[in-house]
């Protein structure tokens, strides 16, 4: 085990790690998550994108229109400014990228494992935080709202699709999220590859 942890990773895998670092840079420019809303009167669809540092509509005016729909049920207005996590998320991503570059310069297997743990821990925290926001938006409704359906909550799904009144909400990772998963996959593959090399040589 110790042999594996302290092993210097192969030249090719080192380049792969560098590649992961560069790939992660693109997450600054791509949405991480996407929530699509489908309703009969919105045949063209409505959607929301969650980026590393902001929330936007899928097209220019979608967020405004989602908030307009939500005002009937008394949901708080969804605006980037109300989610403080978005302020430090770019630094968290920066930390992951920094880790990849350090690993490139100090190419040991344990560094790769640290990277995997970082992504998994941050991923779980991020998903939990996302779920918490969804919960709060969906449950903390204005009691004076024009439409109050007793017992109804409007929490969108964390992953997958869900029907809420006449709206079907689907929540899936977007390009940025997919890149995070792919990065994780590459790192795991690197570990597997390094382990395979030890097995072959012994």
């Amino acid at each position: 085990m110790q042999e594996l942890l302290l092993k210097k990773i192969s030249k090719m895998n080192r380049l792969l790690i560098l590649g992961v670092g560069l790939l992660l840079l693109s997450v600054y420019f791509l949405p991480i998550w996407h929530i699509a809303l489908d309703a009969p009167q919105y045949p063209e669809g409505l959607g929301m994108k969650i980026w590393i540092d902001k929330i936007t509509g899928s097209s220019t005016y979608d967020l405004q229109n989602i908030n307009l729909l939500n005002h009937y049920i008394g949901m708080h207005e969804i605006v980037s400014e109300s989610v403080p996590e978005l302020l430090f998320m770019p630094y968290v991503l920066g930390f992951l990228i920094f880790g990849a570059f350090v690993t490139f310069l100090h190419p040991k297997v344990y560094m790769v494992i640290l990277g995997i743990l970082n992504i998994i821990i941050l991923g779980i925290l991020g998903m939990y935080d996302f779920w918490r926001w969804e919960y709060n938006y969906g449950h903390n409704l204005n009691p004076d709202a024009p439409i109050v359906v007793p017992g109804m909550a409007y929490q969108p799904p964390l992953l997958g699709c869900k029907e809420m009144l006449n709206i079907t909400a689907c929540s899936f990772p977007s390009w940025g999220g997919i890149i995070l998963f792919v990065s994780l996959g590459i790192l795991i593959w690197v570990i597997w590859d390094e382990k395979r090399r030890i097995d072959v040589s012994s």
Partner: protein, 626 residues
């Protein structure tokens, strides 16, 4: 024998039923499916333009152009009322005849439509992104703007010629002076700015006092030329019905607009009077109405080669140029032939004295046979207008015999007679007046309906009929009632327009001086006896929502619709307001409702366009204090 007879009878019946159901399939557009073509029909005496889908013939929209439209406040509110301003004052109605689609290289480009007003000589530009009227220009020195607005190949100019010749400049002269030449017509060249579409009158040409009826401009080799029909070359002024039908031939005026522009640039036109308005509606701002005065006027004698008369039998109505630009088809209302002039022959003979038979106001009259390419013999009664399918065939409408006649260019042979129900005026083929007809559908635009629909009292709707002309024989597919008289039409393939249609006015681009972009800015401002209400609308409320004014105040409700969602206009109406009808305010738009505060009391105001689940709650009050 009887059995055979029955057998035939059954066969015939089955065949008819099969054809009918087949036609029904060809016009059926299933729920959620889109039509293939936009048809824009002028509304004749309604002064509006309506938009239909083809082949379904469903009505999509009425675009107000020359007539007020209480449904959405066009012509009433502070933003659009200046659109209907003329030198005769505010003219809230007109008679709209012809629609022309903008073209690039002779092909429809989907940017604008143009439509004429006959009564108060005017010409409008309709934007094909918003499907709204954006500009109206008055034509000075004209009475009856009928031969209008026909465009040159790249929409460099729109032509507008006088229907009713009058003294120019206007003067009270004895009417019998008409036959002494005191009455004149004008041909106007209205320049279209290629980028913005803005209209300006560049030049007018003074022409003999006939009645100028219709026009079409050349294409390809005839690019430099436009052709105008004229009737009443007799210059009759009493019982014109008889007096103007005497001559065996009237004229098609061939006009070289490139030459006219040359003469203008050489300083051969002189300053001439004539006042006119130009009204322009910038996006989301009040219409700008300018009074302009004076035009450049060219006399044909000062510009040799600018015009020629081609005799054409008899009281010609339509003049239509085929897609190649070679053939100029005349539609003689009272003629027994359809005469076709050849552009190449016109070029050959126009300056050869032996081909001339006289001059009028220094405009040479050519001999009929000299420019004639051929005649379609005995096609029908009352041929009027011709359009082309781009496959070598022409279709001519015949008013008196109520039919559309298909004939072949070059052989001049009639191929088919198609009955029309009833009294067809113009007809229209998709792109049929352009260089590149789409040639699948033809509509006949009829004046009379009689027994076609359920009777609704003595005024029946006018109607149009749809034919499929894609096969060897044209087939009637359906007929449909229209809004107003469907005078002329342009049909444009849907793919050219549908993806460009505007969905909202972006709020950030709203430059209206009284717009507010946020509910926080909603307020009431008093300036003496004038009260300005800066108001917002969003589902499902107004801000401010309760208002107090004093009896006799002039109140301006500057209402901004804050929505940025497709198809969510809001309405605005005040209970009992006598001078203003409803307003429909598009997403991101600001419009102004002017209201004279009446006697003290409580007056409701509300949204009139069912906008949301809480639309009925979108209502508030104004208190009028003593």
């Amino acid at each position: 024998m009887i059995l055979i007879g029955l057998g035939y009878g059954c066969k015939g019946g089955a065949a008819t039923a099969a054809l009918a159901s087949d036609a029904a399939k060809r016009v059926y557009v299933a729920p959620g499916e889109k039509d293939e073509v936009y048809a824009f029909l002028s509304g004749g005496f309604s002064g509006q333009m309506s938009v239909y889908g083809i082949p379904s013939t469903r009505l999509f929209k009425i675009i107000p152009v020359f007539s007020v439209f209480p449904e959405n406040g066009y012509g009433y509110d502070e933003e659009t009322k200046n659109m209907l301003r003329t030198t005769n004052g505010y003219v809230p109605w007109d008679d709209s005849h012809h629609i022309e689609a903008s073209m690039t290289d002779g092909k429809q480009d989907g940017r604008w439509l143009f439509m004429n007003a006959n009564n108060s000589p005017r010409l409008a530009r309709i934007d094909l992104r918003s499907f709204e009227t954006k500009e109206i220009i008055e034509i000075p020195n004209s009475a009856g703007n009928h031969a209008s607005p026909f465009a040159t190949e790249n929409t460099e100019y729109l032509m507008a010629a006088t229907r009713f010749s009058v003294p120019i400049p206007q003067a009270s002269v004895p009417i019998e002076n008409f036959s002494k030449g005191d009455f004149k017509g004008t041909v106007s060249m209205v320049k279209v700015d290629p980028k913005s579409g803005r209209l300006s009158i560049e030049l007018q040409i003074l022409v003999p006092g006939f009645d100028y009826d219709l026009s079409h401009c050349g294409k390809g080799k005839s690019h430099d030329w436009c052709f105008f029909t004229s009737y009443n070359s007799e210059q009759a002024y009493k019982m014109i019905e008889v007096g103007a039908s005497k001559n065996d031939k009237d004229y098609i005026l061939a006009f070289n607009w490139v030459r006219a522009k040359q003469c203008l640039d050489q300083g051969k036109a002189s300053n001439f009077g004539g006042e006119y308005y130009r009204n322009y509606l910038p996006e989301n701002q009040p219409a700008i109405s300018e009074k302009l005065s004076g035009v450049k006027m060219l006399q044909p004698k000062d510009c040799p080669g600018v015009m020629y008369y081609m005799p054409t039998p008899k009281s010609p109505h339509g003049t239509d140029v085929d897609p190649t630009g070679e053939y100029i088809v005349g539609g003689g209302k009272l003629a027994t032939v359809i005469p076709v002039h050849s552009f190449s022959k016109l070029m050959d003979v126009k300056d050869k004295p032996e081909h001339r038979s006289g001059m009028i106001m220094d405009i040479p009259i050519l001999k009929y046979e000299s420019t004639l390419a051929g005649e379609v013999k005995k096609p029908c009664l009352g041929p009027l207008h011709t359009e082309f399918d781009g496959k070598g065939y022409a279709y001519t409408s015949c008013f008196v015999s109520s039919e559309v006649v298909k004939w072949e260019l070059g052989t001049w042979e009639v191929e088919q007679h198609l009955p029309a129900y009833y009294s067809v005026g113009h007809l229209s083929i998709v792109g049929g007046s352009s260089k590149d007809p789409y040639g699948k559908y033809l509509i006949a635009l009829n004046k009379i309906t009689k027994d076609r629909y359920l009777p609704v009292g003595m005024e029946l709707p006018q109607s149009a009929q749809l034919y499929d002309i894609s096969g060897g024989k044209a087939e009637l597919l359906s007929d449909f009632p229209t809004v107003g008289e469907p005078h002329y039409s342009q049909m444009i393939p849907a793919k050219l327009l549908m993806d460009k249609a505007a969905k909202i006015y972006p709020l950030e681009e709203n430059k209206h001086p009284y717009a507010i972009k946020n509910e926080k800015d909603a307020r009431v401002v008093r300036e003496g006896n004038t009260v300005r209400v800066y108001m917002t609308q969003i589902r499902s409320h107004f801000k401010p929502d309760t208002i107090e004014v004093r009896s006799g105040d002039t109140v301006f409700f500057h209402v901004t619709n804050l929505e940025q969602d497709f198809d969510i206009p809001h309405g605005f109406a005040v209970g009992g307001a006598p001078e203003m009808p409803n307003l429909l305010i598009m997403p991101g738009q600001t419009r102004t409702f002017k209201w004279k505060a009446p006697k003290p009391g409580i007056y409701p105001f509300y949204c009139t366009d069912f906008c949301s689940a809480l639309h009925q709650e979108m209502q508030q009050y104004i208190r009028v204090l003593p």
